[in-house]
C-alpha cells in the first residue's frame, strides 16, 4: 500500500504543484490520478519513487517512509512506465526489458529468459527481441515499456500517461492488455492520465486532482459518476456522465423474452438478424448478460429497428431478447439510484 500523508510539493520558483495530498493506493489495486494539465499528477507520481522529494508530509510504502530508502534501491523495486516509453535506443529489445534484472545483478541467462517470457506476456512476437527500439511501432514500444517495468516483478507499478501517445485503437488494446495483466499479477498500480474515460475504465479508485495540486475527489469510478463531489468534478466528468454510469450496471437481472415471439431470425441457435416486414434482414446488436454492462445492452438495442437487444451466451448462442420495456425498466432503476 502507498500512503500519502499531507504531502505538499513547492518547487524552487514557488509553484505549489501538490498541496496537502492525503490518500491511499491500496495493495493490488489500480489507483488513477486524473485531472487537467498542470494539476500535479506527474509530481505526485514521482514523489513515490523519489525522483522528486516532497517539501512537506510523507509518503509511505507499506508503512516505510520512502525517504529512508536509498533511491536506486527503492526504484529497482518500483516499475515505471512513461508516455514515450523511454526505451534505450542503443540496446536491443530483450536487453531493454532485462534492464532492472541486470541492475539487480541477476545471472545474464536468467535475466534474458525472463525478458523473453515478459515479451510474450505483453503480447509481443519474440522475434522482436533482437530488434532495436527504432524498429518498433509506437504501440509495440509501449508494450516493451510495460514489459520492462514488470521484468523484476516489482510489487508496485507507476505509469505516467503510458498510452496517451498512441492512436485510439492501439490505446484501447493496450488498456485491455493492462486489465488482463493486472487480473493475473495484482500489482499495486498508480496510473496517471488526463483522460477521464481511461481513468474510469482502468481505475479501481480514481483520484481527481484540480490545478494547484488539491484532491477534489477520491472514489471508485461508479461513485464518481453517480455522486461527483462538486462542480469541478462534474465538469471534468463531462456531458456523458449519465451514459458512462451504465458501464457499471450489471445485466444479469434483465428480463429475457422468447425470441420466437419476435421478428428475430435464428439459425443453429445464432442470431442472423431482424426480419423486416419487407423480408429484408437488419443486423442484430448483441450483448452477453453478466459479462457486458447495461451500456452495451443499450447500445445493442439502439442498433436494432425494434429497439430490442439480443442476449447471447459467450459462444454467441441466443439466450433471449431484451425488449424496449425491459430496458426502460432497468434504466429507470438506475436513474432512481
Amino acid at each position: 500500500m502507498i500512503t500519502f500523508e499531507s504531502v505538499t510539493k513547492r518547487y524552487a520558483d514557488g509553484t505549489v504543484a501538490v498541496d496537502g495530498l492525503s490518500l491511499e493506493a491500496p495493495t493490488g489495486e489500480i489507483t488513477v490520478f486524473v485531472g487537467p494539465s498542470g494539476c500535479g499528477k506527474t509530481t505526485s507520481l514521482r514523489m513515490i519513487n523519489r525522483m522528486i522529494d516532497p517539501t512537506e508530509g510523507r509518503i509511505l510504502l507499506d508503512g516505510t517512509d520512502v525517504t529512508t530508502i536509498d533511491p536506486p534501491t527503492l526504484r529497482r523495486g518500483i516499475g515505471y512506465v512513461i508516455q514515450q516509453a523511454g526505451l534505450f535506443p542503443h540496446r536491443k529489445i530483450v536487453d531493454n526489458v532485462a534492464t532492472v534484472p541486470f541492475l539487480l545483478g541477476w545471472d545474464k541467462r536468467k535475466a534474458k529468459d525472463r525478458a523473453m517470457e515478459l515479451l510474450e506476456r505483453v503480447g509481443l512476437d519474440p522475434k522482436l527481441a533482437q530488434r532495436y527500439p527504432f524498429q518498433l511501432s509506437g504501440g509495440q514500444q509501449q508494450r516493451v515499456g510495460v514489459a520492462r517495468a514488470l521484468a523484476a516483478d516489482p510489487p508496485v507499478l507507476l505509469m505516467d500517461e503510458p498510452f496517451s501517445a498512441v492512436d485510439p485503437i492501439v490505446r484501447t488494446s493496450l488498456q485491455d492488455e493492462l486489465i488482463r495483466l493486472q487480473s493475473e499479477l495484482q500489482k499495486t498500480i498508480v496510473f496517471v492520465t488526463h483522460d477521464i474515460d481511461e481513468a474510469i475504465k482502468l481505475g479501481d479508485r480514481v483520484a481527481v486532482l484540480r490545478v494547484g495540486g488539491k484532491l477534489a475527489q477520491l472514489a471508485d469510478p461508479r461513485t464518481l459518476l453517480s455522486e461527483p463531489a462538486d462542480d469541478f468534478v462534474r465538469d471534468f466528468l463531462g456531458r456523458d456522465r449519465g451514459i458512462r454510469r451504465l458501464q457499471f450496471v450489471a445485466t444479469d437481472g434483465l428480463e429475457l423474452s422468447d425470441p420466437a415471439d419476435t421478428s428475430l431470425d435464428v439459425q443453429d441457435g445464432r442470431p442472423v438478424g431482424w426480419r423486416r416486414d419487407s423480408g429484408e434482414l437488419e443486423p442484430a446488436g448483441t450483448f452477453v448478460p453478466g459479462r457486458d454492462s447495461l451500456r452495451s445492452a443499450l447500445d445493442a438495442a439502439l442498433l436494432s429497428p425494434s429497439g430490442a437487444a439480443v442476449a447471447v451466451d459467450a459462444d454467441g448462442k441466443v439466450l433471449g431478447v431484451v425488449s424496449r420495456q425491459a430496458l426502460d425498466k432497468a434504466l429507470s432503476e438506475v436513474a432512481d439510484g
Binding site: 519513487n49 525522483m51 514515450q84 526505451l87 542503443h90 540496446r91 534492464t99
Partner: protein, 225 residues
C-alpha cells in the same frame, strides 16, 4: 627544374623508402602518424572529463569553450614558434598545439553528445534505479558516441593535415618533404608527401567510420528501418 626532368621519379621513392636517414619515407610516415594520433587520443582523454564537468556545471561551458575557441583561432605556426622556445624542436612542440585544437572540437562534441540523450531516456534510466555513474557509462555515453565520433573524424583529418606545418620547425612528419622539395627545386618528395598524407587521412577516417559501425549498430538499424 630541368625541362627534361620528370615530375615524379620512382627511383627517389625506392632509394628513400627505408634508408638509414631519419628523413626516410618510413621514418617520416611513422613520425607523422605519432604526431597526429597522439593529439587525437590525448585530446579525447582530456575532453571527456572536461565535457562531463561542463555538463555537470553548466556555467563552466561558456568560459571553457570560449578559451578553446581563442586557442583555435591562433595560427598553428605562431603556436609552434612560441612553444619552440620552451620545448625545443621536438615532436611535442607540434603535439601540444594540435591537442588543444582537438580539444576545441571534442569538448563541444562531448557536451552535444550528452545533450543528444533524449530527456525521457535519461528519466527512465533514473526511474529504473541506475546510479549516476552507471547511468553515465551504460546509457548516456553510449548514446553520445555518434556525436563524439563525428567530432573525432574532423579532428583526425585536420591533425593529419596540420602536422605538416611543423616542417617549418623541422618537425612536420611527411611535411618535411615539402620544405625539402622547395629548397631543392625537386618535386618528387612533395608529391610523395601529399599522396601519403591524403592516404593517411582516408585510412584514419575509414577506421573511425568502421569503429562507429561497430560501436553503434543501433544507428545503422535506425538508418535501414
Amino acid at each position: 627544374m630541368d625541362d627534361g626532368q620528370p615530375l615524379f621519379r620512382w627511383s627517389w621513392v625506392v632509394s628513400n623508402w627505408d634508408n638509414d636517414s631519419p628523413n626516410s619515407i618510413v621514418n617520416l610516415l611513422q613520425a607523422h602518424i605519432v604526431m597526429s594520433a597522439v593529439p587525437v587520443i590525448v585530446g579525447l582523454l582530456v575532453s571527456l572529463p572536461l565535457g562531463l564537468l561542463c555538463v555537470r556545471w553548466r556555467w563552466l561551458y561558456q568560459p571553457v569553450s570560449g578559451l578553446m575557441n581563442a586557442v583555435y583561432a591562433l595560427p598553428s605556426l605562431a603556436l609552434f614558434m612560441i612553444l619552440l622556445a620552451v620545448t625545443g624542436a621536438e615532436p611535442v612542440t607540434v603535439i601540444i598545439p594540435l591537442t588543444f585544437y582537438a580539444m576545441a572540437v571534442l569538448i563541444p562534441a562531448v557536451v552535444d553528445g550528452l545533450a543528444s540523450v533524449p530527456e525521457h531516456v535519461r528519466q527512465s534510466a533514473v526511474a529504473m534505479g541506475f546510479t549516476p555513474l552507471r547511468r553515465l557509462v551504460q546509457v548516456e555515453l553510449p548514446i553520445a558516441v555518434p556525436v563524439v565520433l563525428a567530432g573525432m573524424r574532423v579532428v583526425a583529418v585536420s591533425s593529419i593535415s596540420l602536422v605538416s606545418v611543423g616542417a617549418l620547425i623541422g618537425q612536420g612528419g611527411l611535411g618535411n618533404f615539402f620544405t625539402d622539395a622547395y629548397q631543392r627545386d625537386f618535386y618528387t618528395p612533395a608529391i610523395a608527401g601529399i599522396v601519403l598524407i591524403v592516404l593517411l587521412a582516408l585510412v584514419a577516417d575509414g577506421a573511425l567510420v568502421l569503429l562507429q559501425r561497430l560501436l553503434t549498430p543501433w544507428m545503422r538499424a535506425r538508418r535501414s528501418a
